[in-house]
């Protein structure tokens, strides 16, 4: 066991919304070729059969309106356009065509290829440069939010590939139930009651005791009361606070302002970073639930099926046995025990690469805090865990940046 793992007392997971790896981090390939981002030559054909190239012109807001379709049938087109479909390797050539389907506007459809320029995202780019960026972290399903988030909570979506999940809960327990049963502590922090959670009909209904607000998270960091495992949901909507103040959405879901999400991430990082005891004993994972219909160039790999089959009504008639992953998303593991500039190999490295996905979250938490636990899906059991990235060396304080909020 590494010294970093030995010191680890808390894991915090922040799951943002609907942005692809290349869209957010692809630009970093130019400064660190180990990061599997963009060369600048990637393109998709538009509906006039002209190439729509990637461009570093992504905007914080107002660009991806309407919200790009990311339900299963649309993602299927994004992945397999120009092929016969599975089991063919995804072409990643259908993103522009898919976005065109919504507005029938050729120029607008090209915006799905836009990515953020260097340092336009000072928080996410700083975290990627300073800690561990995953070249191969994928959404669990080529589909929308709720079923993907379910994998982070349960290690399965119970056969659902849509937003409408009313689970069959047995025999698989949520990671929160597992933790509590093992005598560990855990919380799911939601932003506030008006944003609440995306786990409404299952966790909120059946396990209300695990919920706390984001303000409570900040208090818990300050007081050193953070539980063993924390999962944070961002603010999903622009809404007034109880005092009438403005509370902008911080989830980065199009067409919410990406900069608001940057502020949210920075605040969470600082809350951990500014408590020395917490900083040396906590690992923070920042990830995204799915790609939101936005371009990424890496074909998602296959995965261990979990024994379920999706309803054909949700997949546009495409058979789906949960045996392949969704589109790649940004994921960064943060801790002072991680070497600066770590890049975790993905599918581009057949020898050392690993394909992480959201089932890696309960797999990792179970492995570290609970130990042997058999009552989970074969999918989760097969998912790679990520705490081996913690090293024997804790970086000095001055080597780990902080964020100053304007």
């Amino acid at each position: 066991m590494s010294a970093g793992l030995d010191a680890l007392k808390h894991v915090v997971v922040l799951m943002m919304e609907n942005r692809s790896f290349d869209h957010m981090l692809g630009v970093l390939h130019a400064e660190n070729p180990a990061i599997n981002g963009l060369t600048g030559n990637e393109a998709n054909p538009d509906t006039t059969n002209e190439p729509a190239k990637v461009l570093p012109t992504a905007a914080f807001q107002g660009e991806l309106d309407p919200d790009p379709d990311h339900h299963f049938p649309a993602v299927h087109k994004q992945l397999f356009f120009g092929t016969a479909g599975p089991p063919a390797v995804p072409s990643m050539q259908g993103f522009v065509q898919s976005y065109w389907d919504q507005e029938h506007n050729v120029a607008h459809s090209h915006k799905i290829m836009y990515y953020f320029a260097a340092d336009k995202l000072p928080v996410l780019h700083t975290l990627a440069r300073n800690y561990a960026v995953f070249n191969g972290w994928f959404a669990s399903i080529p589909g929308p939010t709720v079923c993907n988030r379910a994998f982070a909570h349960y290690g399965t979506s119970f056969g659902q590939a849509s937003l409408n999940i009313f689970y069959v809960l047995e025999p698989y327990k949520s990671i929160y139930e597992r933790m509590l049963a093992a005598g560990r502590t855990t919380k799911l922090y939601y932003f506030d009651p008006a944003s609440s959670t995306q786990e409404v009909v299952n966790l909120l209904k059946n396990q209300p005791q695990i919920f706390a607000t984001y303000d409570q998270f900040l208090e818990d960091c300050k007081a050193g009361n953070l539980p063993d495992y924390s999962f944070i949901e961002p603010n999903y909507s622009d809404h007034p606070g109880e005092d009438g103040g403005e509370l902008p959405a911080s989830d980065q879901h199009p067409d919410h302002d990406v900069q608001q999400g940057e502020v949210f991430m920075a605040t969470i990082y600082n809350a951990i970073r500014q408590n020395p005891d917490l900083w040396k004993s906590t690992a923070l994972l920042v990830t995204y639930d799915e790609h939101g219909g936005i371009f990424d160039h890496v074909p998602p790999p296959s995965c261990t099926p979990d024994g379920f089959h999706a309803n054909l009504a949700d997949t546009g008639g495409v058979p789906f046995a949960f045996d392949r992953l969704g589109v790649r998303v940004p994921s960064i593991l943060i801790s002072p025990w991680i070497s600066k500039g770590t890049v975790v190999p993905g599918p581009e490295d057949p020898a050392k690469g690993r394909a992480f996905e959201h089932a890696s979250i309960p797999a990792t938490i179970t492995e570290h805090f609970i130990g042997a636990y058999d009552q989970r899906t074969v999918r989760e059991k097969a998912s790679p865990t990520f705490l081996d990235l913690l090293t024997d060396t804790m970086r000095p304080d001055e080597d780990c940046p902080t964020f100053g909020l304007d």
């Binding site: 919304e17 000072p122 009651p193 999903y236 940057e262």
Partner: protein, 83 residues
């Protein structure tokens, strides 16, 4: 003694706050509202919001959806009649 680098994080534009954005633009929140309605049905009638129909009506806003979600979340986490 060396200090850690401080990375400046710009303040987002005030105009990014758009609570009057049509709810139809965000299927995630719309779906969330429908899930909350499933749970709200189990609450005593006097504790139901009476907002659901207006939230799913054409022209409803993200802000109105948030108001509905706030009401039901509070009722679920602090059930009527329980301390």
């Amino acid at each position: 003694m060396a200090q850690p680098t401080v990375i400046r994080v710009p303040k987002p534009a005030r105009s990014s706050y758009q609570p009057h954005r049509p709810l139809s633009k965000n299927t995630l929140i719309l779906n969330q509202v429908k899930h909350f309605r499933e749970l709200e049905k189990d609450l005593p009638r006097e504790h139901q919001s009476g907002l659901f129909e207006s939230v799913i009506a054409a022209g409803a806003t993200e802000g109105l959806a948030a108001e509905y979600i706030r009401h039901v979340t509070k009722k679920l986490l602090h059930p009527p009649g329980k301390a």
